[in-house]
Symmetry: C2
Subunit: 108 residues, 2 copies
Amino acid sequence: MVVSTTESELLPQPERAEIRVENVLQALGDPVRLLIVRALAAARSGIACGEIMLPVSPSTRTHHLRVLREAGVISVQCAGTRKLSTLRRADLDALYPGLLAGVLAAEH
Amino acid sequence: MVVSTTESELLPQPERAEIRVENVLQALGDPVRLLIVRALAAARSGIACGEIMLPVSPSTRTHHLRVLREAGVISVQCAGTRKLSTLRRADLDALYPGLLAGVLAAEH
């Protein structure tokens, strides 16, 4: 799926019907990826992932973002040189009602 | 934790406060382990895991049960030569309200 302007492009991601619960759970089951998901859940709009404080190298950060995107947990929009990530909350809540809320409620 | 009779013993498992969401998500993020969790969720009481139809070898089955138990997702009670597994629904619902329901609601 590609949005209408040529300068803003959504990186490849599964459609809602293609998302699989085991992939979502695997993607969420990592401390660093949970940090990313919590940061995106707290944001009102897409955020540049470089802005999220993470205790990992840039290449590891890129890896984790790809895992989340390919599982259907986040969308990544390229706008010029920036990449803005958003949580696919509507898709996840529709497919697995309560799952994301339960994960975000976790204290440990 | 060991129950009071000598012939019925709970295999080692984390206390509720020791359960970590990333471990639960990792444990759930596997198709075979999801089959086990769905079967246990549908059972009224503990079931012998040999009774769950799984497309894996006995040793792989044992591995998956251990991952689930060590993550805090299931309890396994040894009663004589039988091992009865139960879902730790009360613990998971208390820690991560909605998570388990969302996973079980998944059609794919």
